[in-house]
């Protein structure tokens, strides 16, 4: 296992009208093997852009992303695997086929793919639903399928882009707790984007706080509370203090900038 090192990363876009637009800049970050890092920040701070760069889905305009010795310049699901917000399962494929999709693309034989996919389905507790189709599953279950699909390639790093964004509060909390335990137990390196202050604190070894226009890292906060954590952590003084701090950093700043707030 190796470190993920981001150096002086910046991403610029050219808009349709030809204007240059900086999505994020001056990003320097090192993620250790087995670490759980959450990224939080206001809309438009380039969180997703950064995550896409970490997995090679997007080429930075400047700087570099390195995993160990090698530069990440194209997606490699064995190294870094994605879980997307909208699950993005293939509705025309069964659950087990969806889980095996990455393995199939990697050229695995039919038998291997099926066996490994079933194993990963068991890991996320969905063995019973192997032969169903995604639309027969709830949103929370679909996200677990999507997680199993990413884990099937045994990636060094798991990149999760607001994986619970589309779920209701209760499902979100229950699934989040379960997933974080699963990933902890596996010693998985995880980078997770979230909008939720609670999620950002609850799981993180470190929280990366980003600010907008242009997107840059405002602060990196270490969460010292021992792992694994349970819901009682949320009632501690430490948690509350972090929450207030994050609120000021993220939400309050956004309110001040927000175009809808008039003087």
């Amino acid at each position: 296992m190796s470190q993920l090192v981001v150096e002086d990363l910046s991403v610029e876009y050219t808009s349709m009208s030809g204007d240059r637009f900086t999505a994020c800049t001056d990003i320097n970050l090192t993620i250790e093997s087995g670490e759980f890092v959450t990224i939080i920040g206001p809309s438009g701070c380039g969180k997703s852009t950064l995550l896409h760069c970490l997995g090679g889905l997007l080429q930075p305009s400047g700087g570099s992303v390195k995993l160990g010795e090698s530069v990440v310049d194209s997606p490699d699901p064995h190294k870094a695997s994605f879980v997307f917000q909208d699950y993005s399962l293939f509705p025309w494929k069964s659950v087990v086929d969806n889980v095996g999709m990455g393995l199939k693309f990697a050229g695995g034989s039919k038998k291997e793919v099926a066996a490994q996919a079933r194993e990963k389905l068991e890991f996320v507790g969905l063995t019973r639903f192997a032969d169903r189709y995604p639309r027969e599953l709830s949103g929370g279950m679909q996200q677990r399928v999507s997680l199993a699909r990413a884990l099937a390639l045994e990636p060094q790093i798991l990149l999760m882009d607001e994986p619970f964004g589309a779920l209701d509060e209760q499902t979100r909390r229950a699934l989040g707790e379960e997933m974080s335990q699963i990933l902890r137990a596996a010693g998985q390196t995880v980078v997770l984007i979230t909008h939720s202050l609670d999620e950002a604190i609850f799981w993180a070894d470190r929280i990366v706080v980003m600010s907008a226009s242009p997107g840059r890292i405002a602060e990196v906060i270490e969460v010292k509370h021992p792992q694994p954590r349970d819901l009682s952590f949320m009632a501690t003084e430490e948690f509350q203090q972090l929450r207030v701090h994050l609120f000021e950093k993220v939400e309050f700043n956004q309110l001040q900038r927000g175009p809808k707030v008039s003087a």
């Binding site: 699901p77 997307f84 993005s88 293939f90 509705p91 025309w92 390639l153």
Partner: protein, 250 residues
């Protein structure tokens, strides 16, 4: 659907059918409609049975079915290949979509005399004409389906490093499946109809030809009987293909 609801739907369908039959019987007996215009239903049914007892009619059914099947196979394979190739590039896709939708709307029957000119009065002209009619909706739907695959599915392909072949065969074909199947179903309907029309307009054999002959002989009974057989035949073929091509997942 609930059983009682289903029973009601079928009950009403049978009722409609019964009303037509009763109106027919009433019209030819009490109503005094000339049997030159509308023969008695009993005569027509007897003619149907008699026709089905002859070797000639089975040979004709064979010809018509053969024409339909070959025309559909040509339309389907040409439509799939053309749609696939046109959807490869943005430019060809945009140009192709418009041309194919024109071809779909154009009354191709206007060109039928030319089909006779090119391929003669035999089964070749029926097959070609049927295939051309079926080609357009199939190729159009394939192009449209393959060009409108949701970006998020393609993103999964990139993130999990799908090969170009996998991207085409697993992701794009999978996502476009419902569109492609509905194109094929439209194709079946158009092929069966246009083969019959082609036989009516100029042919030497087939069911449509028999109908056309009966019409020139002013044999109203046979004309009605053959029409019923043609309706039954196209309906059976369309239902079979409709079942086979139904999409299970949206």
């Amino acid at each position: 659907m609930k059983a009682s609801h289903l029973a009601k739907v079928w009950g009403l369908r049978l009722l409609l059918f019964a009303v037509i039959v009763i109106a027919w019987v009433f019209g030819t007996n009490v109503g005094g409609i000339s049997t030159l215009i509308l023969p008695k239903i009993t005569d027509v049914l007897r003619a149907c049975v008699e026709l089905l007892g002859t070797a000639d009619i089975w040979a004709r059914i064979g010809v018509t079915v053969l024409e339909m099947v070959i025309a559909f196979l040509i339309a389907a394979s040409a439509g799939l290949v053309a749609g696939f190739l046109l959807s490869r590039r943005e430019m060809t896709g945009r140009v192709g979509e418009i041309l194919l939708s024109w071809g779909y709307m154009f009354p191709i029957v206007l060109l039928y005399p030319m089909f006779l000119l090119w391929t003669g009065v035999g089964i070749e002209s029926k097959i070609l004409y049927g295939a051309v009619n079926g080609f357009f909706p199939i190729a159009y739907n394939v192009t449209l389906g393959l060009r409108n695959v949701e970006e998020r599915y393609l993103k999964v392909g990139r993130a999990f490093r799908a090969s170009p072949l996998h991207t085409d065969m697993v992701i794009k074909m999978g996502a476009a499946r419902p569109m492609i199947l509905s194109g094929l179903r439209l194709g079946v309907a158009l092929v069966t109809i246009s083969v019959v029309v082609a036989e009516l307009l100029g042919s030497t054999t087939g069911l449509g030809n028999a109908l056309q002959e009966a019409s020139t002989r002013f044999n109203a009974v046979d004309q009605y009987a053959l029409t019923i057989l043609l309706i039954a035949l196209t309906a059976v073929l369309q239902v079979i293909m409709e079942r086979a091509l139904r999409s299970r997942h949206g």
